[in-house]
Every structure is written in C-alpha cells, then in structure tokens.
C-alpha cells in the first residue's frame, strides 16, 4: 500500500495537525493526500495553495516586463506552496502523536482509501470535489440524531441539497417533514410525497398558540383572562352545538351580557376580545378548520411530508411549526410515531437570534432533547448570524456552501470547532452546489460536489428575461388586437 503519485514534499516546521509542503505539480484545494512517517499512513487535506515564480516577483510594475520574462522563462521555475491539514491515520483516523519530519513525501490519496472513508454511509449526497470517482455518503443515523445545519448564501444550493437528502430518506423509508416556507417542495418530484395543507384544528392548539393567533397582546391581562376562560370552557366539552370557535364566541357573549361586568374597562375588554376572535376567524378562514384531522395524523412514513407554508403569514407559520414540533416530540416520547427528521427552511425566521418565538422554543428543545427520542432537526438558513446560536451549536453536523460575509463565516466557525481557518477561507470561493461537510455524519470533513437533484425545485433561479419577453409579447398582442378592433369599428361605420 503506497498510494498515489507524489505531489510534494514537506518543508519547514510541522505540527501533528498541520504541515507545509512545496510542489512542482498543481494539487487542488480540498484534495486528499497521504503522508507516510513513523510507521503510519496519515490522511491529510490540502487546505491552502500559493503559486509563484521567483522570476516574476510582486514588485514588477510593468505588464510588458512580465510578458518579456515569460518569453524566456516559459512556465518553468514556478513553485507551488501549500498547507496540509492532517486528519488522522487512514486506519482509525487518530491524529498522529508526532509531526511529519521535513522531507516527508506528500502523495495523492488513492481512490480505494478514499472510498473506505467517504462511501460507507447510506445517504449519497454527491462526490468528492477533488475526485469524482469517490461517492460521499452520509451516515443517516448520525445525521438525524445529531441534527444538521445547511448554511449558505441564497442561490448556493441549499434547497437542492435538502431535496437530495429527502429523496435518500424516502428510499430509507424514513420520515422527513419539510416546513416548506416558499412552496418549493410539494411538486419537486419526490418519488413519494405527502402534501399537507397547513390546516389546524383549534381543538388541538394550546392556549398560548391560540392566544397568539387571536393576537391578544402581552400586556392585555383582562383580555387574556377572559379569552382563557372561554377557551378552557370550549375545550372541556362545553355543551351545545357549534364549532370550537363558535363555542368560544358564545361563551364570551354570555359573559358580556351578564351582570358580572361592572367597570367600563371590563366592558371594553370583552368587546375587544370578541372582535379579535371574529377577526381571527376571518383572517384564517380555511386554515383554522374545526373539522381538520390532527395534522400529525396525516404524516406518512416513507414519504416526503411537505407542509406548505408558502401562503401563510409568519405568525401562523410560527404557530403551526411549533405545534407540529411540540406534538412530534411528545409522540416520540410516547412511542406513537417513527423517528422523524424535521427540515426547517428559513430557520432564521422561525428561530431568530434576537427575539423569542414559539417555534424557537421547540426548535431549541428538540436540538437538546431530540437525540434521545429520535427527532432530528435540519436547520436551513442563508443568514447564520441571525439564527439562534443555541440551536445552531447543537447541530453536530453542518453542510456549508458558499458563504461570503465574514461575520457569517465567523459565526459558523464559532459553532463548529472542526472548521479550520483555511477551510473557512475557502467558503467564499465555493461554486453553486459545492459544499464542505462537517460533523459526525462523515468521518472527516469533505469538500463535496453535491448531486443535482433531478426533479424541479420551484425556488430555483427564476427566468427573469424570459418572463419579460413573455409579458412584452402579450402586451404587443393586446395592442394589436385593440387596433384591429378599432379599425374594424371604423370600417364598419364608414
């Protein structure tokens, strides 16, 4: 076992975790190499590269001079310097106890070795960027139980990655639940999909959730007390006909007519609550449905469970997400449901760093307790620094794609101790669909070319110029038609 071709040799000072090398060939960043020393064969990753020529130094100020020098030197005399992060012995991935000595040869890692490291999981997401022959397969157990964060700027390929993972989970007869903020996934073409309308049966809501939808403010104590009484009465099987909401309204009206209310402010309060409940009924007509089955009963194992939140407002989305998360955690505790993987798109909206939401509370709880009960979280976001740090740091797995803003990069680095400075520096130069995968779901960090999901995700880049053209054409046609009509009219008159 000697591995692939020699691409360089170690120079300067090395540590057990890192070594510098020079090379005549051009390796690529993210490429895997092996170094043999002290009876060990250690895997490493090329993290940074510098290329130069002593003949064309940085102090030249005239481009013609460079042209002339190149004429004599050709491409000869160039050097490549780089740094290798040592990832561990190829056998057990243990970091060596001693640094590689200067002069240690840096060899390209062979395909077979790489396959043993990267292709043993059960969720294929793509291939190694540096070696398309090596599949990258994630460990599904680790991915679900230790949570996943997918972070990248908009358009870098987060939704595509989600789709690839979801499709693989379907094959594994898993239970992915997608909170689809932009209605992208329902018609994405998963082999099995269960579209779930975001309808809630108010009977199943907690008072806190209900209160939020009815929009009773934090400081409206009297309103809150009145609403709570009516809500509890309706819930505890209040006699009489009518739906849950009708029962609440009836209860409130009874109260308004009774003699109990003395002060004007109490009278105002009850009128206000009644108005709010009626507004709520109008606002969420069709969404809050007293005949809807429990939303969790609709979930299907072996399908992509897509909860379409594209047309609901943020408050409603917050309630529905927190509701489902809460119930999922509960049902897993009682063993009434298969392990689930909850994918939260736009996680920075549902679990923002700076303000509390219902969802944030439950996202955070699942992040902490989900592992024990088999509830996995997948947080998808283009603004990591606006995302709740607690939940993010509980995600032991990360797929990071192109990220440009330094503050976002630092934020990600803080929550993932495995992301070295050199890898961090790569984030802004990743192309669409290229990612760094970190965490327990892979044995070692990998630079991956994610597969292109074959179906069609709606969220993909829209064809703007095409749409302009179409609309312009339509307008021209309309004008023409009008003109024709007018001429028609005149000729008829004459």
């Amino acid at each position: 076992m000697t591995g692939g071709s020699v691409i360089g040799v170690c120079i300067g000072e090395a540590t057990p975790g890192e070594a510098a090398f020079i090379s005549r060939e051009m390796p690529v960043t993210g490429e895997y190499v092996t170094l043999e020393f002290e009876d060990a064969r250690v895997l490493g990753m090329v993290e940074s590269l510098v290329r130069g020529s002593p003949a064309i130094s940085g102090d030249i100020i005239d481009p013609d001079v460079v042209e002339r020098i190149l004429k004599f030197e050709g491409t000869g005399g160039q050097y490549v310097r780089g740094r290798v992060r040592l990832l561990g012995d190829v056998k057990d991935l243990r970091i060596p106890k001693v640094p590689p000595p200067p002069g240690t040869k840096v060899k390209r890692a062979d395909t077979e070795t790489l396959r043993q490291l990267f292709s043993t999981g059960s969720i294929r997401i793509g291939t190694l960027l540096s070696n398309p022959e090596v599949e990258v397969k994630l460990d599904a157990n680790m991915m679900v139980s230790r949570h996943l964060a997918i972070l990248a700027i908009t358009g870098a390929g987060k939704s595509n990655t989600v789709s690839v993972i979801v499709e693989a989970l379907i094959k594994l007869e898993g239970m992915p639940i997608i909170f689809d903020m932009h209605s992208e996934y329902g018609d994405a073409g998963f082999t099995s999909v269960k579209k779930i309308a975001p309808r809630l049966n108010p009977v199943y809501l907690s008072f806190a959730e209900f209160k939020m939808l009815v929009d009773v403010g934090k400081d409206a104590y009297i309103q809150e007390r009145l609403l709570r009484k009516a809500f509890n009465a309706a819930k505890s099987g209040m006699k009489g006909r009518g739906s849950f909401i009708e029962k609440i309204l009836r209860k409130l009206e009874e109260k308004a007519d009774s003699e109990e209310l003395k002060t004007g402010s109490e009278k105002n309060a009850i009128a206000g609550v009644i108005n709010k409940v009626e507004d709520f009924e109008n606002k969420y007509e069709g969404l809050v449905d007293p005949h809807a089955p429990h939303i969790l009963d609709q979930l299907e194992q072996g399908s992509a469970n897509v909860i379409d939140l594209g047309s609901v407002d943020e408050d409603y989305a917050d309630v529905i997400v927190s509701h489902i998360l809460r119930r999922t955690l509960y049902k897993r505790k009682t063993g009434d449901m298969p392990p689930a993987f909850c994918i939260i798109e736009e996680a920075h909206i549902l679990a923002p760093a700076k303000r509390p939401t219902h969802s944030k509370y439950w996202i955070d709880r699942i992040a902490r307790e989900g592992r024990k009960f088999g509830v996995g979280l997948c947080l998808v976001s283009q603004r990591p620094k606006s995302l709740d740090q607690n939940s993010l740091s509980q995600a032991n797995n990360t797929i990071i794609m192109r990220l440009i803003e330094p503050s976002d990069q630092r934020h990600v680095q803080q929550s993932s101790e495995r992301l070295s400075d050199d890898l961090l520096a790569q984030l802004s130069s990743l192309n669409i669909g290229e990612a760094i995968t970190l965490g327990l779901m892979t044995k070692i960090p990998a630079l991956v070319k994610i597969d292109k999901y074959p179906g069609k995700i709606k969220g993909g880049d829209p064809d703007i110029t095409g749409e302009w053209k179409k609309r312009a054409q339509k307008q021209r046609q309309l004008k023409k038609q009008k003109k024709a009509e007018i001429t028609d009219l005149y000729t008829n008159i004459i």
Binding site: P54, A55, D62, V65, R68, I69, F72, E73, G74, G76
Partner: protein, 340 residues
C-alpha cells in the same frame, strides 16, 4: 547613532540642500547631449550567456567561514545553466576581504568557462578592466625565491579542471617559509590564469555591463554614467572610447597589456537606466549598434534579463548565511559578544 547627528543636520540643512540642488542642476550636463547617439535598437536574435556570483561570510575571532555561489545562464530558446556553490573556511586569517572577492571571481569565471563556447555573446556583471587592476596588493610581500616556488605550480593551475579553487589543494605543496604570502600569491595566480582563459576563449564574445561604474573621463566630477543619465532620456549610446591596462602582471603580462577595451555608456530603452558597456576589443559605432541590438534581444526593462536572473539566484543573504552556519553547528566566538 549619536543624537548629535540630528543637531548637526538641523544646523547645516540649508547648506546641504543647496549643494544637492547645485549637483542636480541639469544645465551643467546639457553640453554632453551632443556626445549621445540616439538609436532605437531593433532586437536581433543571438545566443546569449550571462553570469553572476556572490559571496557572504561570517567572521569569528580566529577563522572565517564563507559561502560562495556562481551561476551562468544561456538562452537559446530555452534557458540552460551551469552553477556552483561552496562553503569553506578561509585560512589563514589574512587579507580577508580581498581574498573573498577573489574567490568569488574565480568561481564566476570558471562557471562562465563552462558555457562560453556555446554562446555568441557572454555578459559579465562589472568591468574587466577593473578586474585586471584589482587585487594588486595580493602579489606584494613575496620574495623572489618565494615567487619562484609558486610559479612552479603554475602549470598545475593551468591544467586544473572543474569549478573548484585549485589553490586550496595545491597549497599543501608550499613550504612553511612565508606560507601566508605564498598562498595568497598562488590564489592570485589562479585568478589571473582563469581570467586569461576566459579572455582568450571569449575575446570576441565578452561584454561587461556595469550598473554603478565610477569611470569619470568627462571631467564633470561625477561618474560619466550619471552625466548621460541626466542629460539624455532616449535609447542610444555615448561616443565610444578606448582604454588599455598599463600595469605589469606576474603572468600573461604581454597578453593583458595588449588588450584594447572599447567603452561606452548605453541605454537600451527610452527612459530606462544608463549602463557602462565594455568589450575587450576595438569596435566602431556600427559594430557597437549591432552588439546592442543583440543584447536587446534578451533584455527586459532595459537590462539584460539573464544578468538579472543570475544575480537574483546567487545572492546569499545574511539570513541564509545564518542558516548555513546553524547547519554546521559551530559554536565559536566572534568577539562581538561583549558589545551586546
């Protein structure tokens, strides 16, 4: 530096400024424009070689460690090279500065000899006239008998091959009487022997190029190079002059003194620096132009690229010297420790 220096500067500032502006006054040098021949050189292909060398050293109380590098490049469509390097102990502790220069020169000439037969043109950094005039002191203090003893080794010097300094090995044959002086004389003879080989094999190929020639024949009080640098800006050359070496040499005296050198200040590209060119033969203006066009062929930014390349590669920095010493593992006193 003493703080006093600032005081002196403050006191004499205006005087110094006045003197500087006097010296930089272009009107003095305007008259010399007439001696400049503006030409736009059309590069003409030829096989060009060039060499450079460098030496660095570290002094200890009783010994000197030196490192020397020399390299010669040839461009014939590709760049080919001949290089040599040496690290050694200079012994005995005598005439140090000059001998180190002499060592470097020997290495340079020997590298040049490796490639001179394969080129049309060979560029050396500096002036051959200065090379001939240099190191005179090294032949002093040797008696007639001692000289004879050294001359007996001359055939072996002449036959020595390779780029090493042959004198170091040959010095074992010298008797103890006046050993230091005899050794230094032997080294000097090796220098002249090598220079003679280079001159006779490269008489029609050698070209010296100096960046900082102090030659000053115009009588302006500043180097001629500086005069033309100030007075002109176009590519071209100054009216060529000739020169000879008049001193006597312990060996090859007739050859050296029969050489006629042609010297001219030159600028290869408009607006670039002026250099001093020197060839060990008599040439007229048209031959000079032809020569400059061939030099232009491998020049970048108005300077021969191979010379620049060689210089960049051989330079031994003080830091590198420190690394070399560290590699030797020597613990010795420089005598400067007390100053720290």
């Amino acid at each position: 530096m003493l703080d006093l220096t600032y005081e002196v500067l403050a006191r004499d500032k205006s005087g110094i400024q006045k003197r500087v502006s006097e010296l930089l006054d272009r009107s003095i040098v305007k008259d010399y424009r007439a001696r400049w021949n503006s030409v736009c050189f059309k590069p003409s292909p030829s096989v060009v070689g060039a060499e450079d060398g460098s030496i660095n050293h570290k002094r200890y109380k009783n010994l000197v460690i030196y490192a020397v590098n020399a390299t010669a490049h040839v461009y014939d469509g590709d760049i080919r090279s001949a290089s040599s390097a040496d690290v050694g102990v200079l012994y005995p502790y005598f005439q140090i500065e000059e001998r180190l220069h002499l060592y470097r020169a020997i290495y340079e000439f020997k590298c040049a000899l490796e490639v001179i037969d394969s080129v049309d043109l060979f560029l050396v950094d500096g002036s051959m006239i200065s090379d001939l005039n240099a190191f005179r002191r090294l032949s002093q203090g040797v008696s007639k008998e001692q000289r004879e003893e050294v001359f007996a080794l001359l055939p072996m010097l002449e036959q020595a091959e390779g780029v090493e300094i042959a004198s170091i090995e040959l010095s074992r044959r010298l008797g103890p009487d006046g050993y230091r002086e005899k050794l230094v004389f032997l080294e000097y003879l090796e220098y002249l022997t090598t220079l003679e080989k280079l001159l006779s094999r490269g008489l029609d190929k050698l070209v010296g190029i100096s960046k900082l020639s102090t030659r000053s024949r115009l009588g302006t009080g500043v180097p001629d190079l500086a005069v033309f640098e100030e007075a002109t800006s176009q590519a071209g050359y100054s009216d060529p002059e000739t020169d000879v070496v008049t001193r006597r040499f312990p060996v090859y005296d007739e050859l050296f003194r029969s050489l006629v050198f042609t010297i001219s200040s030159i600028r290869l590209e408009d607006g670039k620096d002026v250099y001093m060119l020197e060839v060990p033969r008599e040439i007229d203006k048209s031959q000079l132009i032809e020569l400059l066009e061939r030099i232009s062929y491998t020049s970048v930014d108005g300077y021969p690229y191979l010379l620049k390349k060689a210089h960049k590669e051989v330079t031994i920095t003080n830091r590198e010297m420190k690394n070399l010493i560290a590699g030797l593992g020597i613990v010795a006193k420089t005598g400067r420790e007390v100053l720290k």
